[in-house]
Amino acid sequence: MKSLGVKNLGVKGHGVKGLRLPSKWHLVLLPMSVVTVLPFVWMILSSVMTQGELNRFPPPFWPEGIDLGGYRTVLNGSNFPRWFLNSVIVSGAIVLAQLALCSLAGYAFARIRFTGSRITLVLVIATALIPFQLTVIPTFLIFNKVGLTDTLGALIVPQLSSAVGIFLMTSFFQSFPRELEEAARIDGCSRYGVFFKVVLPVARPALAALAVITFITAWNDLFWPVVAINSDANYTVQVGLTSFQGQHRADWPAIMAGTVLTTLPVLGVFLFGQRRFVQALTGAVKG
């Protein structure tokens, strides 16, 4: 009876909902979120202004027209396309390597009983407490010794695997039911076969979360690339943009255009994979 009543009210209820005033919470939430993202809105607006507009004081908020001079300066007047490509190569390699190595390791720590597994896992996770500024000088010396400084390789190798990635994958596999794998083992599938044919396909949500968080971290990294890279041609987009700003101090439209282009890839990946990103941050990746 009750459900019938609700159903009958459906049309009317819908009409009432359509007429209902928006929640009063919008009065709090809207201004707060606008203030939070306003700098980014202005980043885009100022990237299409002219130098004349931006060197005025006080600066205008809205552009008078759309001027792409800033984009031309940063794309034609600097190595920006090369830096962008370098960042794509470095972040791409790091993401692929971590997907492979961290999922293998996470699976082993969660499922296989092998000597020394517990102590290794504890050590690996404890390294998250070692700050990079402590290890950066010797790490530079290591890469200097093998002649890898000032190459993209120096940026990729230390990030091939990560404590966060292993932690994420281990806890994902621990929370995952064993039945599927056991059935496959009984059917005569090897450990390796089970991993590639049975486990990896079901681990897709965790892999997506790991990929999103790894990409954003790798793309945004500044400290190590600043230390490891010297020549302009090997800069990542973050280092390149910082040096570009040093050389074009007054050309704010060009700097803002570069900032927009640098932010777009992470923004795109974030908007596309927001749910997975949040799951990775809260460590709660489920199927």
């Binding site: 980014f40 296989i112 640098t262």
Partner: protein, 310 residues
């Protein structure tokens, strides 16, 4: 291997053999799967960690091996005004940032924990500054807070307020940087708190509202205690994060004006890679590391004692 074993032992051996073989197979598989990833992490953290300690007793300049100078670096540190300035600047950041991010994070998380239209949009907005790189955030905010051309001073002028020094003022720059740092980071606290609030048992909240508990009572007596583990986590994480403050300094003030925004990690970078006094830089890094550990362990002990008394 056991094919020549006497018949007498065969039953026992036959029983043990598959298990041994299985254990061997598990070890091979385990280390094949977990070895490479673990080796890379441990190799790039434990080896440099020990090496940094030995470096801190030398006068290494990154090029030549460096001579042993004993504790000279640590002694020099006690008389280094820039080190103490960096310590003060970083301390100010920690003291302002931690409470601000915890309070703002929890309040925004509570606000975001409701079913209104467009809530997904709001949640996204608060995370955007967190995912943007420090380079983007630094260049953008460096411009907005620029003394001569910035939007912020433009706003002050329009409101009839005097123009401020902002990032060019030795007394204001570190506060402005703290504000920028807060803006780029507090989205993390929002995400963590929001996830914790969503885990709170609905029945408890309903019971409270039936008992006539108001919003403030619910917040004070149910939400705050329920998310306490997250508060502890965010405090530890925030201290580590704030003590490593580097990128935004690099992309805005470069430590200036007059060392007003030199943080410890920025100073370590300058020492090692600008002035080529890597041994001294390693010593500063070790002091920061040990200090952080003591801070965290001390905090845990205090929190535990409080918990035991409560």
């Amino acid at each position: 291997m056991n094919s020549t074993a006497p018949a007498l032992g065969r039953a026992a051996v036959g029983h043990r053999q598959p298990r041994d073989r299985r254990r061997l197979a598990d070890n091979v598989a385990g280390w094949t799967f977990a070895g490479p990833a673990s080796l890379i992490i441990l190799g790039f953290s434990l080896v440099p960690m020990v090496w940094a300690l030995t470096l801190s007793f030398t006068d290494s300049d990154l090029q030549t091996p460096g001579r042993n100078v004993g504790l000279a670096n640590y002694r020099a540190l006690l008389e280094d005004p820039v080190f103490f300035q960096a310590l003060r600047n970083t301390g100010l950041l920690v003291v302002l940032y931690i409470p601000a991010s915890l309070i703002a994070g929890l309040l925004v998380a509570v606000l975001l924990n409701r079913k209104v239209r467009g809530i997904g949009f709001y949640r996204t907005c608060f995370l955007v500054p967190y995912i943007a790189s420090a380079t983007s955030a630094g260049l953008l905010m460096g411009y907005i807070f620029d003394r001569d051309f910035g939007l912020m001073n433009g706003l002050f002028v329009k409101l009839g307020l005097p123009v401020q020094g902002l990032l060019s003022s030795p007394s204001q720059a570190m506060f402005v940087l703290t504000l920028i740092f807060f803006w780029t980071r507090f989205g993390f606290a929002v995400v963590i708190y929001l996830a914790a609030i969503q885990e709170i048992n609905k029945e408890i909240l309903e019971a409270a509202s039936i008992d006539g508990a108001g919003r403030w009572t619910t917040f004070r007596h149910i939400i705050v205690p329920s998310v306490r583990p997250m508060t502890l986590f965010l405090t530890v994480w925030g201290v580590i994060d704030a003590l490593q403050f580097f990128d935004l300094v690099m992309t805005t003030t470069k430590g200036g004006p007059a060392n007003a925004t030199v943080t410890i990690v920025y100073y370590i970078w300058q020492l090692a890679f600008n002035y080529f006094t890597a041994g001294y830089g390693a010593a500063v890094a070790y002091v920061l590391f040990v200090g952080t550990l003591m801070l965290i362990v001390g905090g845990f002990l205090i929190a535990r004692r409080k918990g035991a008394m409560a």
